[in-house]
């Protein structure tokens, strides 16, 4: 029975369970809903949940485990000498699965009878040709071991699917019957349903957290592999970034970190004053009309994909800066060799960060209570004195938090740097030089055609983990500052 049918039967049972549970509970109270412990629909929901949740759980676990268990038992049938030196057992097993699927298709099309498919011999039939007829292409002729493994794979799968259907239906019917019997007027259905909803919410929250842990772990293992192949002292304390796919690379994070920090600093230098002043204007001076169109307009900037900012850097800002500071430029200084530079990427990234800083700061400034402003104005302070001496000090922790969040955005930014800053890793204090950052090197190391197990590729994971730790540290610091110094207003 296909999975779709199983799910449809389950859903029908659930719907039926809701109606019957509700009706049975009402009947136990002689139709008077006020005599029930819970509202009638809670009884229905209880039956529906008791039918659905356990059976669905069994279904999911079965679907996850069955292929693993069948693979394990079938792979014993492949003798080790069958596996050629240049492939692995996994590749042979994927052949087995492919043949098994091909037989399934052939049987379903009526090209082959179920009996035939189980008694085929490679000596007697050209299986590759016969499967080719039904549209299943095989890479090579089927060997007898693979065919018998495929036949047993099919048998096990069929038995497994049949078993799954029966077990899932049994669990669903058991849950249905048990909860239906429970649905009497004394039963506390509301409490059970509320607990069910609570566990659903907890499940969602823990999925998000577990995913984060999974991401970190996957990077951690590759990073450990990398440090097995490459000296950690060179990574953390070396001074050259020179990946070489023939080996003997120098892979130090420091030049990349310097580029990252330099570009982020320039970006913050642009974004913090502009964003903060914009926030002050919007929250303290602008009338409701100006505010109602200026604030969304500013926040549109936050929705622009960073690749578009990258284009802006590549096409407009870079050539403009080169026209000013480059060779034969308007200022006649020829400081800049090309259009890509730290300054180009920093300026454009700063523009990208303005809405972050301004929007967060605006919310924080608005959270400063009006009574503070009244108190200051009531003493004869002007509006700018009030903002400078009362509102901003009160909002400062939040503003610092906003700036740190913007910083972690800047540190993690990739596309603007790729298109605006160039690709040369070096230590230089000259803002007109090309430089590169951690994120862009991760991309270039992983997208090269190097061997995946070489240190030149694995270094990407070490860089990624370092970046993760860096931004995590910044975010923790931001949260700490905001929590510690936040004024608690009534």
């Amino acid at each position: 029975m296909p999975l779709t049918w199983l799910v449809l039967i389950l859903l029908t049972l659930v719907g039926l369970g809701f109606i019957l549970g509700r009706r049975r509970a009402l009947r136990s109270a002689n139709g008077d809903a006020r005599l029930l412990h819970s509202r009638p629909h809670f009884y229905g929901a209880n039956v529906a949940l008791s039918t659905l949740v356990p059976s669905l759980g069994v279904l999911v676990i079965w679907l996850l485990l069955q292929p693993v268990l069948i693979d394990r038992s079938v792979s014993h049938m492949i003798p080790p000498e069958m596996v050629p030196a240049d492939t692995t057992l996994g590749l042979v097993m994927s052949d087995v699965r492919r043949v098994a699927e091909g037989l399934d298709v052939a049987v379903a099309r009526g090209v082959m009878s179920e009996r035939d498919s189980n008694t085929l011999r490679t000596e007697l039939t050209d299986l590759r040709a016969r499967l080719g007829e039904v549209g299943v292409a095989l890479g090579q002729d089927v060997r007898p071991e693979v065919l018998s493994a495929a036949q047993s794979y099919r048998r096990l799968s069929h038995a497994g699917t049949m078993g799954m259907t029966l077990v899932v239906l049994a669990v669903a019917i058991a849950g249905f019957g048990f909860s239906l019997i429970q649905s009497r007027k004394e039963f506390r259905a509301r409490n059970v349903v509320e607990r069910g909803i609570l566990s659903l919410l907890i499940l969602a929250a823990s999925l998000a957290i577990l995913t984060t842990v999974g991401i970190v772990l996957s990077m951690l293992f590759e990073t450990i592999n990398f440090f097995g192949l490459h000296d950690w002292r060179d990574f953390f304390f070396g001074n050259t970034w020179a990946p070489n796919f023939r080996g003997e690379s120098e892979l130090s994070i420091l030049p990349l970190l310097w580029g990252t920090i330099y570009i982020s600093l320039i970006a913050l230098f642009v974004a913090v004053p502009v964003g903060l002043f914009a926030a002050i204007y919007l929250s303290e001076y602008a009338g409701p009309k100006t505010r109602s169109f200026a604030k969304p307009l500013l926040e549109i900037l936050a929705g622009i994909p960073t690749i578009v900012y990258g284009l802006f850097a590549l096409l407009t800002v870079g050539p403009m800066l080169a026209g000013l500071f480059g060779q034969g430029g308007a200022l006649g200084v020829s400081w800049m060799a090309g259009a890509t530079s730290v300054l180009t990427a920093g300026l454009v990234m700063g523009i990208m960060l303005i809405p972050f800083v301004s929007s967060l700061s605006d919310d924080i400034i608005n959270a400063v209570p009006q009574s503070m402003r009244d108190g200051s104005l009531g003493l004869g302070a002007t509006q700018s004195e009030t903002i400078r001496q009362v509102v901003l000090p009160a909002a400062l922790p939040g503003i610092v938090g906003a700036v740190l969040l913007a910083t972690s955005r800047a540190v993690g930014e990739t596309m603007i740097v790729v298109m605006g800053a160039g690709a040369i890793a070096k230590f230089s204090a000259n803002p007109f030089d090309s430089m590169t950052t951690i994120t862009t090197r991760i991309v270039s190391q992983l997208t090269g055609d190097g061997d995946f197990s070489s240190p030149e590729t694995l270094v990407a994971f070490a860089l990624g983990l370092s970046l993760f730790v860096l931004t995590l540290g910044l975010n923790v610091l931001a949260l700490y500052i905001v929590r510690t110094y936040r004024e608690q207003y009534e």
Binding site: P288, M372, D374, G375, L377, L379, G380, A381, T382
Partner: protein
Amino acid sequence: MFDAPTIGSTVELQDSKITASGVHVFYGDTHAIKDVNVNIAAKTVTAFIGPSGCGKSTFLRCLNRMNDTIDTCRVEGNIHLDGEDIYDRRVDPVQLRAKVGMVFQKPNPFPKSIYDNVAYGARIHGLARNKSELDAIVEKALRRAALWGEVKDRLGAPGTGLSGGQQQRLCIARAVATEPEVLLMDEPCSALDPIATAQVEELIDDLRTRFSVVIVTHSMQQAARVSQKTAFFHLGHLVEFGDTPTIFTNPSDERTESYITGRIG
């Protein structure tokens, strides 16, 4: 204030600090204050009483133009301080508020140290030439607000860390430190316990020797204890204004009597 001579100041205003005549206040379409006429005398405590929503706080906020900060608010009529129209276009509300200080219903110390809270007004108006003068101003204001003894050893501590009553006295010290001529108090004791209330009331009585004090209060006992003049507001009208003993013992208006005896409100 502006220096130009003012036409219209008359002899009868001599001992009036603030004269309001024909004052109307609108919040958008709501007519909150209807034709209020009142004279606030120098060196007296004037109490505004009345049920909630009767407009007494709104009227108080007109006296130092705090209503300017509310976009929808519109004030009509004349309010004169020492014979000068405070709603004249040439008057800078910032300078007006330096002369007419305000203490709010809820204590609102700034998130700064106790010292900086009190020194705030003196600093922005440049009242002190050096640090020792500023110290003297802060000490004098805190002494007047009866807070000096409690905080003199921790002037650097944050003002928000004080208890509610201390915070309110800090706000009073802050207002007093700028040497205003009139002090407006909007229910200054509503968030305080009886002991702190008694301290603030004692303070108000002291302040009368130097300033005009206008106090909005919900407590009729408080109005009777601290004020010399009382104004009764009802539904945006000034119903009755006179000497406090007269208002409380022999009110001329029926509504005043009903409010004082607790039948409306």
